[in-house]
């Protein structure tokens, strides 16, 4: 038994080191005075200042944030419906195709989705005049399409775990299906929706390939700007940006972890309370 846990332990240490050394290196080098990034020349926070003055990056960040927010919100709406349909509607015409279309974006290589959506937009513009030119709208539509798949899978999984007899009880007590969805189902699966929103937000903020295909002049997203910079080699401002992003994600994850741990504690306390008095 001891030997097994030693093997596991070392595997985990190696694995986590592997995951985190690059991230840590990014952070460390962001404080490197040297422009060469990896040749240490002293401690400095100048690159953070340079970052804040880099209009190109800031503008791209702003565009990306707006796209990500809009995308996440619409994707949650559509994805929740799709997930609900998959979980609750057992049989309907075209269900196989629907399931296929909902789960395919999860694994589809981005170059294919990017190319196909661009060709669609071009054809649409030629046929009906919309969308006129590519940019914010087309990127958002593209992002919604794949984000929705992730949300649908999360929602479907949560709904399958949920006790369906709760919804049946509500039906039995006189409520109609639509009302039940908003009064009963939605509040119960709310955490899954939040997770879906955050996931869609992150995916959108991080997408390079699809955005590259479907964007237009003046609508460069943050990943596109980063990519064009790092193609040429390392860039210290990118390190600074990376550190900020990692910091934000870390704070978010820690807060989420604390909140969930606290909820778990109150829940356990409540159950003990219930068992105590009959």
């Amino acid at each position: 038994m001891k030997r097994r846990s030693l093997f596991l332990f070392s595997a985990m240490v190696f694995g986590f080191a592997f995951l985190y050394i690059p991230i840590v290196s990014l952070i460390v080098y962001s404080f490197n005075k040297s422009k060469l990034v990896t040749v240490w020349a002293g401690f400095s926070t100048q690159w953070y200042g340079a970052l804040l003055e880099n209009d190109q990056i800031l503008q791209a960040a702003w565009i990306s944030l707006r796209i990500a927010t809009l995308n996440a919100t619409v994707a949650v709406a559509l994805g929740t419906i799709a997930g609900f349909v998959l979980a609750r509607f057992r049989r309907f015409r075209g269900r196989t195709l629907f399931t296929g279309m909902v789960t395919a974006p999860l694994v589809m290589p981005e170059v294919i989705t990017g190319l196909s959506l661009l060709l669609l937009f071009v054809a649409m513009e030629a046929a009906i005049g919309w969308p006129s030119g590519r940019g914010f709208t087309t990127i958002t539509i593209a992002h919604i399409t794949f984000s929705m798949a992730y949300v649908a899978v999360i929602v479907q999984s949560r709904l399958s775990d949920m006790d369906e007899s709760i919804e049946e009880a509500a039906l039995d007590l006189g409520a109609r299906p639509l009302k039940i969805f908003f009064l009963i189902t939605l509040p119960i699966i709310a955490p899954a929706l939040v997770a879906g929103w955050l996931l869609a937000f992150t995916l959108s903020l991080d997408d390079l390939v699809i955005a590259s295909f479907v964007s237009g002049p003046g609508s460069s997203t943050l990943p596109m700007v980063i990519f064009s910079k790092v193609r040429l080699g390392v860039s210290p401002e990118i390190n600074a940006l990376a550190t900020i992003l990692v910091g934000l994600v870390a704070i978010g994850t820690v807060i989420a972890g604390i909140v969930m741990a606290r909820k778990q504690k109150t829940r356990e306390r409540d159950m003990q309370l219930a068992a105590a008095d009959k």
Binding site: S165, E168, A169, D172, L173, A175, A274, K278
Partner: protein, 379 residues
């Protein structure tokens, strides 16, 4: 509506003038090739506490769900209060259901859970408040009104589920294994509470259960189900003492069954020669069976006397050796081995405290019973 004071006068199924409140007409339910409910016809009357009893998978829950409206029958009709329930969704039926898992809304308090049904009826706020209060007092949960389900014990959650389903004053309440999740002591207590509430409110209950003891305690009538069809419908006494088939006889309680053929067939008595034993069974009533038919004689363990000395009667006696004795406190179980590997189960009440003459292992004994204790079964 007749109010009754004792069970013995409540027998609406015998009254030709009474129309059943629930009528199932040749109801069948198929899931693909699997037949869950097979051509079931049943009449249930107002204010009955009807139990559907059967093992897991026998179709009783499917039947209940069809009554509630969560499944549609593949063929056949369901009528409640004279109205055909086809195409009627659950929220339009005059029926309420109590779920096995209780299905309480986890994000609502006890009050909100119980009030939910009334809110759908668009009653005024004050009406809802007073009725909820009344109901919570009835199930003794008024102290816990603002708690959420995860803050309640299993027994408390069950009472919330009951309150929630009764508050709409349904004429028919369906209960799916209502006591299955409770521990033994609580179960007994709740059984009587359920019966009281049912009598008090005058609601018709249909209870699905796999627990025989529960069915025997609660029911005005029991419907025994097996693999999708109804084996027998009757009062607890009828089911126990007058089973219609070997399946029912064996399903309820324990029974000893002897196979044999009729040697004497008279209107007032019948003699059966046992196939495996050198003995005769004398039954004190006539039996509807074709001559030389193969029949089964069933006798319950508590109806068999076990003695050391040969009794005076000539029929209804067999000899054997005591193989096992189990002392259960209020009664003892004897497993008596007969010739040819057959074992008979006998139970006797322990009438004398610390009886020094009690029968014990390996003793040679005689088993005998009264002619009226036999039920003759033809299937």
């Amino acid at each position: 509506m007749p109010s009754f004071t004792s069970f013995s006068t409540f027998e609406p199924w015998k009254d030709p003038g009474q129309t059943p409140y629930v009528r199932l007409e040749r109801v069948t339910k198929k899931f693909g090739d699997f037949v869950a409910v097979n051509d079931v016809s049943l009449d249930i009357y107002r204010q009955e506490l009807f139990c559907l009893l059967g093992a897991s998978g026998c179709g009783k829950s499917t039947l209940l769900r069809m009554l509630a409206g969560f499944e549609e029958p593949t063929s056949g009709r369901i009528l409640i209060d004279g109205m055909d329930m086809a195409d009627t969704p659950p929220y339009e039926r005059p029926v309420n259901m109590m779920f096995q898992s209780y299905a309480l809304f986890p994000h609502m308090t006890v009050t909100q859970n119980v009030a939910f049904g009334l809110k759908q009826e668009k009653l005024s706020r004050s009406d809802i408040r007073s009725r909820v209060k009344e109901m919570l007092e009835l199930v003794k949960l008024d102290r816990f009104a603002e708690r959420k389900p995860h803050q309640l014990s299993g027994g408390q959650r069950q009472r919330v589920a009951l309150a929630r389903s009764l508050i709409k004053r349904p004429k028919l309440l369906l209960l799916d294994e209502p006591l299955a999740a409770l521990d033994k002591k609580l179960r007994e207590h709740t059984q009587f509470e359920l019966m009281n509430i049912q009598e008090q409110l005058g609601v018709t209950f249909i209870v699905v259960t796999h627990d025989q003891q529960e069915a025997m305690t609660l029911a005005t009538r029991i419907g025994v189900m097996d693999e999708g069809y109804i084996a027998q419908v009757g009062t607890p006494t009828e089911i126990y003492e007058f089973p219609a088939s070997r399946f029912v006889a064996d399903f309820i309680g324990s029974v000893n069954i002897f196979e044999g053929s009729i040697t004497e067939d008279e209107p007032d008595h019948v003699t059966i020669r046992m196939r495996d034993q050198e003995a005769d069974i004398y039954v004190d009533h006539g039996v509807n069976a074709p001559p030389d038919a193969r029949v089964w004689a069933a006798v319950r363990p508590e109806k068999i006397h076990i003695t050391r000395n040969r009794p005076e009667q000539s029929a209804n006696v067999i000899e054997g050796t005591v193989k096992e004795v189990a002392y259960m406190g209020d009664f003892s179980i004897y497993l008596v081995g007969l010739e040819g590997d057959r074992t008979i189960r006998v139970t006797q009440p322990n009438l004398r405290r610390g009886d020094p003459e009690r029968i014990t292992w390996d003793e040679h004994v005689f088993l005998h019973w009264l002619p009226s204790s036999i039920v003759v079964l033809t299937e």
